[in-house]
Amino acid sequence: MFAHVDINNCYVSCETLFNPTLKGRVVVVLSNNDGCVIARSNEAKAAGIKMGDAEFMVRKQLKELDAVIFSSNYALYADMSARMMNNLARYTYMLMVYSIDEAFLALNNLTVDLEKHVATISENVMQDTGLSITVGVGPTMALAKLANKASKKMKRDYLVLDTPDKIDAVIKDFPIEDVWGVGRQYYEKLKELGVVTAEDFRQLKADLVRQYMTVQGWRLHQELWGIPCNVIKDVADRSKGIESSQSFNTYQTELEQLEEAAAMHAATVAIKLRQQKSMAMMLTIYLRTNKHNEKHDQHYPSLTVKVPFATNSTQQLTKICVQALRAIYQPGYNYLKTGVRATGIITAGEVQYNLFSNYDAGKQDALSNLMDDINARYGRGALRVAAEGYDKTWKMKQEFLSKQYTTNWKDIIVAR
């Protein structure tokens, strides 16, 4: 048996925990640069605010609703997510963190009653973390995820689908587009076949599914019949590419500002590489103008550089990045975004060095580790390469940022 757990309105829940006055209000969280809505309270959903709505489009509506708006506070959300996952891990021998707010738990060979165990998880984790969660349980991961969605629709905290009867009852009128892995493309295809509910899909012949929907669709078909095809992996696959990018708050035309931003992204990529103990062999840097602004000339240059020696050193990657940027930059354009992507990722330690080069990897490692330690103590960015600059005029817009209640001593709550 598998359980699928997710945090209800994750980002809004995190904000509400430290600001309970938000309960019952229309609350939205905006994406990077305060661009669009990425999380909504139930009240905001009911008021018709959509996921991905641009902030300036719904500004008036939000004002009329007396809504509370937040910029994304990823430091807070990441900390609360880690707390949630560590709590969930206490109730299973195998936890798969699926995303910042979702996890799968293996629930086989329980000595206690399944329903009781799930009720305990739901109650304890909600009390201990203060975040509201929904738990769906089923014999396969797809059914667990489906149970979770069904549970939300019934306004329940958890739903256990442990018998064919219970599965049949839920699947009967469960819309096919809400099934895990059914994207827009499959949805269109299935609609042609007259498939509206998960039950309709299950009644299709396996061969037919295989013919129409690749192996993924076939697996899903199997899973809906209760035959597990997906397994829980407790170690995430190493990502194939690591990217850091961000839009500017205003158009940038000067090379110096672009260099600073690109250097910062390179440094972020380097930190991420070190965190997952890997190194990059290729680095891509790109610039973007605003494609929505028809009055401006458009320029989307990008350059991929092979790194001389696979590395995760901040210093090396920023250096390469700044050189590449200088090569692709052309004056006269209004740039809106820059980003850095590392590819060709290998495990640190598998790297081959050239006998005849004087590249000192040990020194680079020592320097990077030292930077990580100092930044861990004094805050991200306390020690950084000069190329990142000091006065970040291009920094992202975060007008409605809440405090870092759990990760910064200066921001802890003062009680009366």
Binding site: D128, A366, D373, W409, K410, I412, A415
Partner: protein, 159 residues
């Protein structure tokens, strides 16, 4: 990595950097191995006995003198555990009319008394319109004199 640091001149900032590593790194001992090295244990760490459930521990700061009779003075750091259920007589954090409060938890048959130094600061809640945010396990009270709060000692329980 540590060796590089040790070679630098030992100024206070470097010393603090050394402290970064919670598990003190072993120095290499040249020559014969000391017999005691086979009996090493990690050194004592105060968080082992004051943070029992780190995943559910939060920190707040006391912002009033309402609880001085309970040895909770203004500016003390509060160590709060959300996983502990409140019992009569314990100190709890709860949210009430727009603010977080710290009070003694005294449930009675038909009402909940959240007691402080004086009746004026005591909060009485009828029925069950109440939610415990967390239980205060202990407070941290810095005892340094102003003259001692210089340099990195200025950071003791301060922000």
């Amino acid at each position: 990595m540590l060796k590089i640091l040790v070679k630098l001149k030992p100024d206070p900032y470097i010393c603090e950097m050394l402290r970064l590593r919670k598990q003190a790194t072993k120095r290499d001992v040249l020559g014969f191995r000391l017999p005691m090295l086979t009996h090493e244990e990690p050194t004592l760490d105060v968080t082992d006995i004051i943070v029992i459930d780190p995943d559910n521990t939060y920190y707040m700061r006391m912002g009033s003198e309402a609880m001085t009779a309970y040895h909770i003075l203004e500016d003390h750091i509060l160590v709060i555990d959300r996983s502990l259920p409140p019992v009569p007589g314990c100190i709890v954090v709860f949210f009430h009319e727009g603010d977080f409060y710290v009070r003694e938890y005294c449930p009675e048959r038909d009402k909940l008394i959240l007691r402080a130094n004086t009746p004026a600061e005591t909060i009485i809640i009828a029925g069950d319109q109440w939610e415990c945010w967390g239980v205060v396990m202990l407070t941290l009270n810095p005892l340094l004199q102003p003259a001692q709060k210089t340099g990195r000692y200025g950071h003791v329980c301060a922000c």
